[in-house]
Amino acid sequence: MNPGIPAASLIVLACAAGNRWLVADPVLHVLLQLPLLGASGCLLVPQQRVVAGWRWAAGGVAPLSLALTGVAFWMLPRSIDGAVNNGMMSLVKFVSLPVIGALITVCWRRGHALLLAFVKAQVVSMAGFMAFLFTHSPVRLCNSYLIDDQWRLGVAFLWLGVALAGYWALGLFRVPAPIQSELH
């Protein structure tokens, strides 16, 4: 049995049990529940020796395309509105996000370093874009949330972008010194 199943199930069950409470606030919905569901999928990815044998995932582009499609889907205000008001969309949320999380993990394990660096830059800039959109839109983008809540979500996206940029920038200082022979 996949050792991640119990923990992943626990996360999904917790998200389902707290769904009414979590979706009532867009910050909790978008930046806590959705990532948690994604994280549950990360736990389900098989061991590296299995993933290393997946030829379709070589280079990480295929899992990345699929994951980005899912992320783009859940960045749309109409998807978020749907997950609040529509039972079927809520079900899609609980099924698709673990899959997206798993795909991101596969991409991270199989992706070329350049691809991962590109993704990191995109994630930071996209967080900035979402922050700008939600703090500056004069209209409510989700019918289910108030304009003040939308603004809070924008600010949270800003902090997320800053935190990720800071975390990834820290990695630059951990790079070991280049070996002299490689410089010549």
Binding site: W56, S65, T69, D81, R140, C142, S144
Partner: protein, 201 residues
Amino acid sequence: MHALVASLLSLVAGVVLLWSHTDGFQALTAERARRLEAARSTPPVAPFTVETMDGTVLRVPRVNGRVALVEFIYTRCPTLCQSAGADMKRLGAQLEVEDLADRVSLLSVSFDPTHDDVPRLADYGRRHRADGALWTVGRPQPAALAGLLSDFGVTVIPDGYGGLAHNVAVHLVTADGRLAGIFDPDDFGAIVSATRRTLGP
């Protein structure tokens, strides 16, 4: 080779999924989506009745073959519903100029029917000079409210200050009970042309 094929297939699948989910990349919000759906597929709305500001009962779709232009308000709303009321008055005047007034009914429906009793509806109507003939104000039965709002795609949530936040629009309901268009309350040009198109020659 496997990875290349898988990548291309993933890319195509992603574009197709997002294309279909956003109505051809046109509707990124639920509000835009419901407006597009009304324009494209004219979904049916269940017939409903309201108690009007005169105390009479009015049925939508109208039995006299008129097109109904319906918007949703609550009378103690300090902002959107007051400008929507002013727009409704101007829309009525525009329809008279366009010679459509005898084939159309304007109706403001309260989504706060327990608070908005007949005197309060009448007060809202008086403030915005609703004549009770071309344009009237009404409230549904509280039990019918949820289904009504769902049919029209109207979302009402508490605003945290004792009021209600909601999406505002004018909804065109044909004489046979279909939702044929959803418009901004001040988009008179689009409302008039859609009404004319619905009524035919």
